[in-house]
């Protein structure tokens, strides 16, 4: 198997929020666990973007929400939906994301913004359990599930596993939506979760 040319990084949203919080909140409050208001969300998203490699370089980021107590819809739109949209504009996408530590207090807001923008994302709610959430077709769900189960599908297995027309289309859609990764060198296909296992 060819080594994967992508080095995932973990970004703790609470730490990012701390960094941008003092400016936004005029150093008068230290509310670094509440991800609320659109300007805060925008600042956090932009701070996350600065941690990503430049255009044309592959990246996989684990955006960690586990220390965020609360996120409102405006912030979810900025930090989740707009972050994804920015990088999906590239064809094929070169930045991939996994949202980690998403808990009950954030779940509805994140699902809502994904639905509203017809986006999907790979999310880890319970430790080690990854879900495809947001808007996706039945075929995408099925193929993503198979890939998630396998972790990696080598080039020679692709035709056997995903040879059907519907599967190929779904796989292609998962690539273009940044929900699965194809190694540009070997052609092997990777579940995003498999690529970040060592970070979890």
């Amino acid at each position: 198997m060819t080594e994967c040319p992508i080095e995932p990084v973990s970004i703790d949203v609470r730490e990012v929020l701390k960094g941008v919080g003092d400016d936004l909140m005029q150093q008068s409050v230290t509310l670094h666990s509440y991800l609320v208001t659109r300007p805060t969300g925008r600042a956090v998203r932009m701070a996350i973007e600065t941690q990503l490699p430049g255009a044309g370089q592959l990246s996989l980021s684990v955006i960690d929400f586990s220390e965020v107590m609360l996120i409102d819809f405006s912030c979810a739109d900025e930090v989740v939906a707009k972050l994804l949209q920015q990088y999906l504009a590239d064809e094929p996408p070169d930045a991939f994301f996994i949202f980690r530590g998403v808990h009950e207090a954030q779940w509805n807001q994140i699902l809502t913004v994904l639905d509203r923008q017809s986006l999907a994302a790979v999310v880890e709610r319970d430790a080690g359990v990854f879900e495809l959430v947001g808007v996706s077709s039945e075929d995408e769900d099925r193929v993503w599930g198979q890939l998630e189960e396998r972790g990696v599908v080598d080039t020679e297995e692709i035709e056997t596993l995903f040879g059907a027309h519907a599967d190929r289309q779904a796989l292609s859609s998962l690539f273009s939506r940044g929900l699965a990764f194809r190694n540009p060198g070997s052609g092997s296909i990777h579940a995003l979760s498999r690529l970040v296992r060592h970070l979890l």
């Binding site: 936004l24 909140m25 005029q26 008068s28 409050v29 509310l31 509440y34 609320v36 208001t37 659109r38 300007p39 805060t40 107590m69 609360l70 409102d72 819809f73 405006s74 739109d77 900025e78 939906a81 707009k82 009950e104 207090a105 509805n108 807001q109 809502t112 913004v113 509203r116 923008q117």
Partner: protein
């Protein structure tokens, strides 16, 4: 109280100086004003004789004292302030699960952002629980938000008035924002605040209404008989959003 602050703000713009305010002497009213931190907010708006000793606000039924909203930092403070109290009051007075503090704080955040992003003018927010024993036979929590900005019609006019033609009015502007989620921003991620507030309030079988200019639009729950849309009211500068969350009834899941 929040309406009084708005009235004072508007009166103060008239060029005749800072408006005078004479407060009632009833100890109940005086105590209520203190608990809701009315005097702190009113000092910027009115000329009046404030009580010599200001007791600390935040009595047991107060979820959020009157808080001026002008910057995003104000919203962060509001969210922080209600986090501790909301769980307790929503569960003890309304019978909601303790986890309801989260959607409650999210509602507050979104409704306050409405002031900053759309009104472009200062506003106030307050939340308090009341015993509506006669009216409803239950406790309620009331959130009131008002601003002295340009109102829904003014906010949407540039982007959306043309498509309404002669029908463009305070009422159609409220319908556009409240029912259809339109905003002045072309960004499709905008406009979901009010929609999500409506959805959450509906889950809690509550009432939410928005008033601006000469119109008011209401998402009416079963227990209320307000008309969904009223036009021809006295002009209200800016906007008012009111949310009433009732205690769970015996048959509520």
């Amino acid at each position: 109280m929040v309406s009084l602050l708005l009235a004072g703000t508007v009166a103060g713009r008239g060029g005749s100086g800072v408006p005078l305010l004479e407060l009632p002497e009833s100890p109940d009213v005086a105590g209520y004003l203190v608990r809701m931190a009315f005097h702190e907010a009113a000092a910027d708006v009115f000329e009046y004789e404030a009580p010599a000793r200001r007791a600390k606000g935040g009595g047991s039924d107060v979820l959020l004292e009157i808080t001026r909203i002008q910057t995003n930092a104000d919203i962060h403070r509001v969210v922080d302030r209600v986090q501790g109290r909301a769980g307790t009051i929503l569960s003890t007075k309304l019978g909601y699960p303790p986890t309801s503090a989260v959607p409650f704080a999210v509602i507050l955040s979104e409704v306050c952002q409405n002031i900053i992003e759309h009104a472009e003018g200062p506003g106030w927010v307050a939340a308090q629980s009341y015993n509506w024993s006669k009216r409803l036979g239950r406790f309620v929590v009331v959130i009131s938000v008002m601003d002295s900005g340009r109102g829904f019609r003014g906010s949407l006019m540039g982007e959306h008035s043309a498509r309404y033609g002669d029908r463009w009015s305070d009422a159609t502007a409220l319908e556009a924002a409240f029912l259809h989620g339109l905003t002045r921003f072309p960004d499709s991620g905008r406009g979901q605040g009010i929609q999500q507030m409506r959805k959450q309030v509906r889950k809690w079988k509550g009432l939410i209404s928005a008033r601006s200019g000469s119109a008011r639009i209401t998402q009416v729950p079963e227990w209320d008989d307000s008309p969904p849309l009223v036009d021809g009211l006295a002009q209200l500068p800016g906007a008012q959003i009111s949310i009433v969350l009732p205690a769970k009834g015996a048959g509520d899941s």
